[in-house]
Amino acid sequence: MNMRDTAQTNDEISIETGAEMHMDETSKISAKDVQVHYGDNHAIKDVSVEIADKAVTAFIGPSGCGKSTFLRCLNRMNDTIDICRVAGEIKIDDEDIYDKRVDPVQLRAKVGMVFQKPNPFPKSIYDNVAYGPRIHGLANNKAELDGIVERALRRGAIWEEVKDRLDASGTGLSGGQQQRLCIARAIATEPQVLLMDEPCSALDPIATAQVEELIDELRKSYCVVIVTHSMQQAARVSQQTAFFHLGNLVEFGETDKIFTNPEDPRTESYISGRIG
């Protein structure tokens, strides 16, 4: 993979990206020349990126830059939108997820997703978490299912708060609790990748801190990709950062480096608050 080519085809300015230094590390997701069209709108242009396993990768950039769109390509959530077309190659564990043989349903069991607004189902907390395991047939009996639910809630760092009221409705929890419930719900299907689309944007600072702590914890077991508006958040939780602008991947590299010593002038402008 060659990030330089990508950048050059898009822009006159030749830039060095930091991606190359991770080439030998095991990358979980590898995207090559991804293009996304919404009807006539070219939303993602030639994006290529390697995302490492057992790490948090943050996508940052101004509104409408395509970072969420790109995230939704990684588990083919864009399939549900009629006018959306995806071209290029995205591989997870070296398998092209847009291959005809791939069932998006199976893919999404492997690549879980957490959304911007907490969206618990109007069911009990237990049923919310058990929903995924049930549809994927992960438990053979009630005891196993109970085990999965408890494990997921514990990993979601919400078990202590809800263990006495698993039958209560998921929609009755506070915003932060709801979001952690949604994370637990995503974990319960035993995915390998967790995609998070601005998971804290609807939360207050305390709830945000709790969720960020949880993300840091999840890094040990999963490949986590998080889209965020907040540069501070990206700096706090991620190891790698990708900066998107107008559908282009402008710069990708170690988070520390992007924030302290960006190579592209647009990254610098964004970080210092001039665009966005």
């Binding site: 398998e95 291959d99 791939v102 349903v105 199976q106 893919l107 492997k110 994927h136 390998q192």
Partner: protein, 442 residues
């Protein structure tokens, strides 16, 4: 987490099962759509299949002698004398005309003269009589008439009556049908467009061939006028009050709940209301378009109010603020700005409400509109008042015909439904065009 990483490229058994369930579910949905569309298709074909033929009618074209000796004994063309000759007096003339035509064409038949005369509709003598009374000068000569054929003969040419069924029928016989076929070949019997179906009044049980929708259409038109004149202003005024002026209190709540309930009250209950209040209590004329219109107006009111309120709601508050901001009163802001902007929506809702009212049958049965009416009702008479003369209405006429014994009326009823559906189609198309044309997105 999972012990052995599964390949995404191989679809596992469980996913296959789930996808099969998905396909089944989708098929159920498609099936439901197909059932619904099929039901519509069958309904339309059934109605059009039986009804289209009502727009064509079998006529017998013969030259009828109009001898002075029979029709005007006085010889001075005095109408009062001529009127004494009833349709019975005209009947032999028609028979003679038909016999002469048969002779001339060289057709032979075993039928008696009386049975031959039965080929002509019982309505036909009245047609000739009306012509003679309107044109006394024609007496003495003869005149070529297009006369209605009997309903059985008409049915024969529309495949409703067959030789087998005629053999069992008192009103016709296979010989008569044979004769009719010969007459058709000779050009004496023809099937032509039937304007009478749209403009003639209803006819009695024995004469389906003469039955028309004239009175029913006129009655429906009168009722729609009453509905429009009452329901539109009252509906708009009520909506303006509820949407723009009403304080949010208990009373307003009650009115609102009340309106949504009125929209769902069975239509027959409105008929009971009309019977008890307008006819028994206020003593308006039974069967009159006025009472029918009043009942339908009350029924349509909730529909108009609901759609008017929706279009008032869609006018953004900024418009009201702008008017108020330059010193208009609340009333002026509503009547000068909000209402004109909401007008297309109100109009659309009104047309749809009218279309509903036009097709409504049940309440009209209870206020006596099912009566047999042959006279075109006048819009105003000093005796009966405005829209007070007995009338019938399009959907009730259809119901009326379904209750008649002669199978010829099934064709009439279906034909009348086509007329009704065409009216509805036109109204709804106008509503859609209005909506498209004036649709505004804020």
């Amino acid at each position: 987490m999972s012990d052995a990483p599964k390949s995404l490229l191989a679809v596992d058994v469980r996913t296959k099962k789930r996808n099969a369930a998905e396909a089944r579910f989708k098929a159920y949905g498609l099936g439901a759509i197909i059932v619904a569309v099929l039901a519509l298709a069958i309904l339309i074909t059934s109605v059009f299949g039986t009804g289209l033929s009502a727009f064509r009618q079998t006529f017998i074209t013969i030259e009828v002698p109009l001898p002075e000796a029979k029709l005007d004994k006085s010889g001075v063309r005095d109408l009062s004398v001529m009127k004494k000759v009833t349709t019975i007096g005209y009947k032999p003339l028609l028979r003679n005309g038909l016999l002469a035509a048969i002779d001339e064409a060289g057709i032979t038949t075993d039928l008696s003269k009386k049975d031959i005369a039965k080929l002509i509709s019982k309505e036909a003598p009245a047609t000739v009589r009306n012509f003679v009374l309107a044109n006394p000068d024609a007496i003495g000569g003869s005149m070529v008439f297009d006369l209605l054929a009997n309903g059985r003969i008409d049915g024969f040419f529309k495949d409703r009556v067959t030789m087998e069924s005629a053999a069992l029928d008192d009103n016709t016989s296979p010989e008569a049908l044979k004769l009719a076929r010969d007459l058709k070949e000779a050009g004496i019997i023809q099937t032509k467009l039937n304007w009478g179906f749209l403009f003639a009044p209803d006819a009695s049980d024995q004469r389906p061939e003469a039955a028309g929708l004239g009175v029913a259409i006129l009655g429906s038109l009168y009722m729609m006028i009453v509905v429009l004149v009452l329901a539109l202003p009252i509906g708009v005024a009520a909506s303006v009050y509820l949407e723009e002026f009403a304080p949010r209190n208990r009373l307003t709540d009650i009115i609102e709940v009340n309106i949504s309930n009125l929209a769902a009250v069975p239509s027959i209950v409105y008929g009971i209301l009309g019977l008890a209040i307008f006819i028994n209590f206020m003593e308006f004329n039974q069967s009159s378009p006025l009472v029918g219109g009043l009942v339908l107006a009350l029924m349509t009111l909730p529909t108009i109010i609901i759609s008017t309120r929706a279009s008032l709601k869609s006018v953004p508050p900024s418009i009201r603020d702008a008017a108020l901001g330059i010193g208009a009163s609340k009333m002026q802001s509503v009547f000068h700005h909000v209402l004109p902007l909401a007008a297309p929506g109100i109009l659309t809702g009104t047309i749809i409400g009218l279309a509903q009212a036009l097709g409504e049958t049940a309440p009209l049965l209870l206020i006596g509109m099912v009566a047999f009416v042959r006279e075109y009702p006048a819009a105003y008479t000093p005796d009966a008042g405005l829209f007070g003369e007995a009338s019938t209405a399009l959907p009730v006429q259809i119901f009326n015909w379904t209750q008649r014994a002669d199978p010829g009326f099934v064709e009439r009823a279906s034909g009348a439904i086509i007329v009704l559906l065409v009216f509805l189609l036109v109204m709804n198309t106008i509503a859609i065009i209005l909506r498209r044309k004036f649709e505004r997105r804020w």
